[in-house]
């Protein structure tokens, strides 16, 4: 609580609102972002409690249930070796969400310190980091991720590393840009004047101000990373069979389109809903964190 004087009459009591609380208040007003948040929480619960939600073992084959249409036993039908598609879609949430979150975490952990360093130190360090970032951004995202995943070897873990490395320059550039605009602000000058070390200024004064943009970019990049993981798995460079992943399920489904279209429909809808939720939530977050917005 803070007391401010209007200059006339009695002082007016004004409530202080932290930036986090303000962003949450604004976010709550955006219905689509809130729907997306609910969907994301549901997807996370689906991933965590997959063993309790799945109706079958996702890798259990059954020759008596090959390519069965959706029914009460197999809600989303069954695949070419009789595995339950609903259970595979539920377990696939784990691969997709973890790939999205972990690869973006890799990109943030690698990209943010590099961006801070480039923006804050400047000079040759900045020139070197910026040129390498430009070079990486010049290679199309998916092609670089495919090349990296191919050279590292096909596995979900390597796909996450490949996507993480590929997404790193986005965070380097974003952080550097923010640092350049923040470092001349009065409060940073003041922190420097009272003798704070460069590291402390970067950590305590600059990083917290870069956080809102990082949060928005991180959320939107998770959406891109999920599509990238599904793409790599579709090409056989991500999650390896028989472990379920939406991308690899679509790859197999392509061969049975004429007699078992459900094999392609449900994993695709799962990717769509997940990516859409991250995109909608990211958009809402951007609006809520925008200082110019009401």
């Amino acid at each position: 609580m803070a007391l401010t004087s209007t200059g006339v009459g009695a002082p007016v009591r004004e409530t202080f609102e932290s930036p986090g609380a303000r962003a949450w208040r604004r976010l709550k007003k955006r219905r689509t972002a809130m729907v997306a948040l609910v969907l994301l929480v549901l997807l996370a619960l689906l991933a965590i409690f997959a063993p309790f939600i799945a109706t079958h073992d996702p890798t259990q084959q059954s020759w008596r249930a090959v390519r069965q249409a959706p029914s009460l036993t197999h809600w989303f039908g069954s695949d070419e070796v009789g595995r339950d598609i609903f259970s595979r879609v539920v377990y696939g949430t784990r691969a997709s969400l973890s790939a999205g979150v972990i690869s973006v975490a890799i990109a943030i952990v690698a990209g943010v310190p590099l961006g801070l360093l480039a923006g804050y130190v400047g000079g040759w360090t900045d020139a070197l980091i910026s040129r390498v970032t430009d070079a990486m951004l010049a290679c199309p995202f998916l092609i670089l991720a495919i090349a990296l995943a191919a050279f590292l070897g096909p596995s979900l873990q390597n796909a996450m590393i490949a996507i993480g490395i590929t997404a790193t320059p986005v965070f380097v550039r974003l952080t550097r840009g923010q640092v350049l605009s923040i470092k001349t602000e009065d409060y940073v000058e003041a922190a420097r004047a009272v003798g704070n070390t460069r590291l402390r200024i970067a950590w305590k004064h600059i990083l917290p101000n870069v956080m809102p943009q990082l949060l928005v970019q991180g959320t939107l990049t998770i959406a891109t990373a999920i599509i990238a993981e599904a793409s790599l798995s579709f090409l056989g460079l991500g999650q390896q069979p028989p472990a379920p992943s939406w991308g690899s399920m679509l790859n197999v489904a392509q061969r049975f389109l004429s007699n078992a279209p459900w094999m392609a429909i449900f994993p695709g809808i799962a990717i769509f809903i997940t990516v859409l939720s991250f995109n909608l939530f990211g958009d809402g977050l951007r609006d809520a964190l925008d200082p110019k917005a009401k």
Binding site: C139, L235, L257
Partner: protein, 313 residues
């Protein structure tokens, strides 16, 4: 203007240098000795030694890099181990196919994205705006390989209207070529249409609030002229710049689209190379794609400078 363009050209040199280093270093990521991988199953010591000599793997990294980049400058991107053909020949064969696909996708992207963006901006906060935004989000969030599979299911399996896969050159049979590429081009252009729509909408909203649009309205011009002549012409500059950049991204998106529709283009070349551990091809394709992207970026910048009178002096 010339100073600006020269400055951009000079900035390209370190970027291209780092791209080449990055692509060269990709091979170093290979687990184990690349010569062992290239020698195949038998691992004959003599063959391994030959491979080491031939690809200069017995020499220090900087020497290997210089030899590789020296070859690249002479148009030698190495040789495909699987097809025993120069990578540059393979690139020259496959690139036109992908460019045809990308150009057609671009027509879809701009043809859908720009009008949708205008409608959304002009009819801001109406049902039109809402519908266009939903469609854009749908485009951005749909993985294009899934959309491809669903379109094959609908138009090829169910209706039998279009071929599910394959490619025909437009110089052989124009209409057969269109039939074979219309679905992949739509799939490829779909997600970018959403991006272009959002940018057109943002640019139009900004332009429509500017002083010269207000003046045009005050002069009594009809709304159609104001929107198309005064608004759109100015809003399009950043959109076209973005379009040039997206063209580079389309090359990347073509990887999966070509895989689904079995189109023998650039994307299929890299995927086949990846699975056959044909590393020279992977490096060559990434290098060509990155260079194309850099050149398009430069052209977009020059276009922007030329289109913007304030930067032209």
């Amino acid at each position: 203007m010339f100073t600006l363009i020269t400055k951009r050209l000079i900035q390209l040199i370190p970027t291209i240098f780092f791209v080449s280093v990055l692509i060269f270093l990709l091979q170093q990521l290979l687990p184990g000795d690349p010569a062992l991988v290239m020698a195949g199953e038998e691992k004959d010591p003599e063959v391994i030694e030959q491979i080491r000599k031939r690809y200069r793997l017995d020499q220090p990294l900087p020497i290997q890099y210089l030899a590789w980049i020296g070859g690249v400058f002479q148009g030698d991107l190495g040789e495909s181990m699987r097809l025993s053909e120069p990578v540059s020949t393979l690139v020259a064969q496959k690139l036109p196919v992908t460019i045809q696909l990308a150009v057609m996708a671009m027509i879809f992207t701009l043809g859908i994205g720009i009008p949708a963006g205008i409608i959304s901006a002009v009819k801001k906060d109406t049902a039109w705006d809402y519908v266009v935004n939903v469609v854009a989000l749908w485009g951005i969030s749909t993985p294009n390989f899934w959309l491809g599979i669903m379109l094959i299911f609908l138009f090829s399996v169910q209706l039998g209207w279009l071929p599910a896969s394959g490619y025909v050159s437009p110089f052989e049979d124009f209409w057969a070529s269109m039939a074979a590429t219309i679905m992949p081009a739509f799939v490829l252009g779909n997600s970018f249409a959403g991006v272009i729509m959002r940018h057109t909408r943002a640019a139009m909203l900004q332009v429509m609030e500017s002083d010269y649009v207000r003046t045009a309205r005050a002069k009594g011009l009809d709304e159609r002229t104001v929107i198309l002549k005064h608004g759109l012409r100015n809003a399009l500059t950043p959109v076209i710049t973005l379009g040039a950049l997206e063209f580079g991204t389309l090359l990347s998106g073509a990887v999966l689209t070509e895989q689904i529709f079995s189109i023998p283009g650039f994307g299929k070349l890299i995927v086949d190379a990846v699975f056959n551990r044909d590393y020279a091809v992977v490096q060559g394709v990434v290098l060509v794609t990155a260079t194309t992207y850099i050149v398009l970026n430069l052209l977009a910048d020059i276009g922007y400078i030329l289109a913007n009178p304030r930067l032209r002096t």
